[in-house]
Amino acid sequence: MIRRDGMHEKYLAERVRAEIGLDPRGHELGIQVRVVFGERCVVLDGLVATAARRDWIEMLARELLPDYEVRNDIAVQCMLEPKRELLA
């Protein structure tokens, strides 16, 4: 849980984003975090490799801000067929 004594709420999103990058369960650095203050809601967005990583980030956000609703818009990246390029 993030201690918020004296913290301006505008710093909250970056604190969550930093924790997602540092947490050893995933080290996801590319997640966007938006806090909708009026609705006490955190919106997570971005792209991760597996569904497990998406779920872990949502769980972490709930741990960090237990009094906020968490909206998880993170997508799992697709793995298309290998590509080929002829170089000239």
Partner: protein, 242 residues
């Protein structure tokens, strides 16, 4: 036809080892070499190292890799490199290797690279020691890459990086983070030494294609950019890169 497969930013962990093992299995039939452009693991931990071993286990062609920032996080680069080399993977850092395919010498010079930014908006070795160290690190790695490329005797010369050497393949990323994604010093080094192809990763929201100021072809092969397990670059040995 010479076929070089490449991908970066695999970020392999225990949860994705099986996925990557299946995704990379066909590369042995599709290409002559597999190049990995850094961020092989989530954090370079022992668990990640073991997961990466599982992911690469089915690959039967030579693998050449550079490390990325994620691979450095746990401060255990030595054991990670030893594990990779024990599996036959060549890990480059300011060094090079030549593989011969059908009589054609394919030379790969590799370095992780580092940040600093690009022309008109980059850091310099000025001010606090920490700022000087940041840019000095990039300059030294760029110098090592240039030396490795310059002495590379090969028919086809490839520079393999994690960080970006040009800004063009960062298009799509927020401009504010360009200095953390690469440095023009890397591009300048490549242009001085010469290369046929440059491969990098790191910029997940970047663009796939660009060229250096001298016209060297640059490809961002970060997996989130290519959206597939690897891209196979094909060269016609009868006409150089064609």
């Amino acid at each position: 036809m010479i076929r070089v497969a490449a991908v970066g930013d695999l970020h392999v962990g225990a949860d994705s080892a099986a996925l990557w093992r299946a995704a990379l299995a066909p590369v042995s039939a599709a290409a002559d070499l597999l190049l990995l452009a850094g961020d092989l693991t989530r954090s370079g931990s022992k668990a990640d190292e073991e997961a990466l071993g599982v992911a690469l286990d089915a690959v039967r062609i030579p693998i050449v890799a550079v490390l990325g920032n994620h691979d450095h996080h746990e401060d255990r680069v030595g054991p990670l490199v030893a594990s990779l080399e024990g599996r036959g993977v060549s890990v480059l850092e300011g060094s090079s290797i030549v593989h011969e395919v059908d009589g054609v010498r394919i030379g790969i010079a590799g370095a992780k690279g580092f940040g600093g930014g690009f022309e008109g908006a980059c850091g310099s070795e000025f001010g606090e020691p920490e700022m000087k160290a940041f840019i000095r690190h990039t300059r030294e790695l760029a110098g090592d890459l240039e030396n490795a490329l310059a002495i590379l005797e090969a028919d086809l010369r490839i520079a393999l990086l994690h960080y970006a050497p040009i800004a063009a393949t960062l298009a799509g990323e927020r401009c504010e983070i360009y200095p953390f994604l690469g440095s023009y010093l890397l591009g300048e080094a490549i242009d001085r030494a010469g290369a046929d192809l440059v491969l990098h990763g790191h910029a997940h929201a970047g663009s796939a294609r660009g060229t250096t100021h001298s016209g060297v072809c640059v490809r961002n092969v970060a997996q989130p950019v290519i959206q597939c397990p690897y891209v196979v670059f094909c060269f016609d040995p009868t006409g150089g890169a064609s």
